[in-house]
Symmetry: C2
Subunit: 395 residues, 2 copies
């Protein structure tokens, strides 16, 4: 017979979920109130404002979808595409492939622009795709590829879309709160993210934002959105700006408490300092990993600070290392995904997981576990290199 579940206390340095602050867990566990309670409606308004701050946008339609990031992705596609439409989809990792699936399930055609895993989306290829398909209605790309740790030039990509009268759909699941993300300045039209990455909230919620141009396209649709649950015209009735909230679905009330608290923490720190913190600890981690003889898989020019792809050395068993880190150190790092299965680890430094103690734990644990697996790096060099970084750089 099952009994109460007491989870182990992990340190979460994979590709998400990331470490959740006790403040956020405390918020999550507060008493449930109704999803139409006036107090909850006030909370909803605050969440919208805080999400606008995080996305750096004035978009009125900036809300959390009551489901994980993959539902946020789907919300963008099903609301902006209709059968017969054409979308240019950039793929340089797992999530571009998922975008293609979404486009095709909308009855639309995906024009693929493919780049190697571990490299950014080629802006030139996207321009060429628009030249070949000037009727494309949407350009979709991933800002920060969670499967490869690569940042693409979102500003340039949004501009190409706008110059070609297309709407841009941007996956910001891993970027929101971790690196610069300027929705309005870049002119992004539909952006989705996840609660469990650099916001360090519990998983299950997908913040999205739609530009006025995107909202207009949604309001002028001739073809009903194929998903009732994700139909933004209906969702807007519940999350909309006026005081009358129409019941659409029952919001995940407690998850909203948690999202609110995690956004408050981001606001208190300030976006710029949060971005600097991610970069600062990323540099310490990289110095440590390289001092251990490990190779970063992504070129420094497009490397994400919050998600570090590390090549698994010759002769080292992927699963055994991750399993030892988990069982001996309660430390989770991520396996490779797609083309990188068995070839890379993904070490996350997202949100509340991005602090010195995590960097040092991760380097120490890897030092020991890899040595036990027969690696012959200089013991202690990794932590020493990271400490040197912490000692010399003024934070």
């Amino acid at each position: 017979m099952a009994t109460t579940f007491y989870p182990p206390q992990r340190t979460l340095m994979g590709p998400g979920p990331s470490d959740v602050s006790p403040r956020v867990l405390a918020a999550l566990g507060r008493p449930t109130i109704g999803h139409l309670d006036p107090e909850f409606v006030t909370l909803m308004d605050e969440i919208k404002g805080l999400l606008q701050m995080a996305f750096q946008t004035d978009n009125q339609l900036t809300i959390p979808i009551s489901a994980p990031g993959s539902a946020g992705m789907e919300a963008c596609f099903v609301n902006l595409l209709a059968p017969g439409d054409k979308a240019i989809v950039c793929q340089n990792g797992v999530f571009g492939g998922r975008m293609k699936e979404n486009v095709e399930r909308c009855g639309a055609t995906a024009i693929m622009v493919e780049d190697d895993w571990g490299t950014p989306v080629s802006v030139d290829k996207v321009s060429a795709a628009f030249a070949a398909h000037p009727d494309a209605k949407v350009l979709a790309f991933v800002h920060a590829e969670t499967s490869t740790g690569v940042e693409s030039d979102a500003a340039a990509l949004c501009k190409i879309a706008a110059d070609n009268n297309a709407l841009s759909i941007m996956d910001a699941v891993t970027s929101l709160g971790g690196i610069e993300l300027k929705v309005d300045e870049w002119g992004a039209d539909a952006v989705y993210s996840g609660s469990q990455k650099c916001l360090s909230c519990v998983p299950g919620i997908s913040p999205v934002t739609f530009s006025p141009k995107a909202v207009e396209a949604i309001q002028n649709r001739q073809h009903k959105v194929q998903s009732w649950f994700l139909d933004m015209q209906l969702v807007m009735g519940y999350w909309g700006g006026d005081s009358k909230r129409a019941y659409h679905h029952t919001a995940p009330v407690n998850a909203m408490y948690a999202l609110h608290e995690s956004l408050l923490m981001l606001e208190e720190e300030g976006l710029d300092l949060a971005f600097e913190r991610h970069m600062f600890h990323h540099e310490a981690l990289v110095k440590g990993l390289e001092a251990m003889g490990l190779n970063m898989l992504v070129d420094q020019s497009c490397r994400l600070p919050q998600l570090n792809l590390v090549q698994i050395p010759e002769g080292i068993e992927d699963a055994a290392v991750r399993s030892a880190l988990l069982s001996q150190y309660d430390l989770e790092i991520g396996a490779g995904l797609g083309a990188f299965v068995g070839k890379a680890w993904r070490i996350g430094l997202m949100g509340q997981a991005c602090y010195q103690e995590n960097v040092l734990l991760c380097l120490s644990a890897l030092d020991n576990v890899l040595a036990a697996q027969g690696a012959n790096h200089e013991r202690g060099a990794a932590v020493a290199a990271a400490m040197a970084h912490y000692d010399t750089v003024q934070q």
Copy 2:
């Protein structure tokens, strides 16, 4: 500037969310672990087993969808229907109408069987609909209509579907854990529920179960499921029976702790005792309401114990009463929905909200608030009638 949100301590006697036990809130707030952590995979297996207990089924595909009940509804329709299909949809309240929307957004045709709000689905009309449309692939109906407080004859409806080689889709959002729900014995093929009703978990999760016949239909689909997020073939890869779990989406880890704990509480009590408890306190509530001169809107033969539709008396202001209950007693009851807007209140006795203290609070508060609104019932009669019930009936 926003600050930490401290929700008021409400008593939740609306149509859901219902009162959440401190045990479940404590589970919810435990430290987050990864969605592929071996400990989490064990928890997932336990949840599947507990949901089988609650649904009274051996269906292997019995899992929680990572989104609210309306997404669970959509999961059933998009996986079982394809463009050109025909579905018979029973409507006797709001949620039958939502089913129609789902059918049509799948590119299928909805054959509507309509019954008055406040009455059950007519089994004869459904038989007649099958006679007129023997090629219907699906029969969809609501077991316990949350908008009207009515129970329909799910066993008979599932049988008609089976006799006509159709798959049954049953909305059990409000029934699961509150009244008898025998998925296997009745032969239901696809059933969805919600976490925030009689399970008394936090809102945001939708338990679903699919019969082997439904799974076969899904596996033999020629047309891709239009939703990537809700494609059960993909979801099965993550929640499936084998030890290898394929990443699909990031599960709402903490919500799963809570769901697990709420199902444990149901298992500890036992289904039969839980159903008896709902009926017992429902009878006390009804005796109290009637002693106050209020009328139940639904005939006793099909009345749901967990959701009580009460006619708003002539001359009484709907919103003012609910607002006074909330502000003076921290008590939430539900407004009418659809045809019952302004005409009925919905008083929930769901899960952990179904105890004597809630019945007495509700009756006392209504007694006072209605009197303040000018009603001239005998003061104190309601509580006296409920107490008489509690005194005379052996629990």
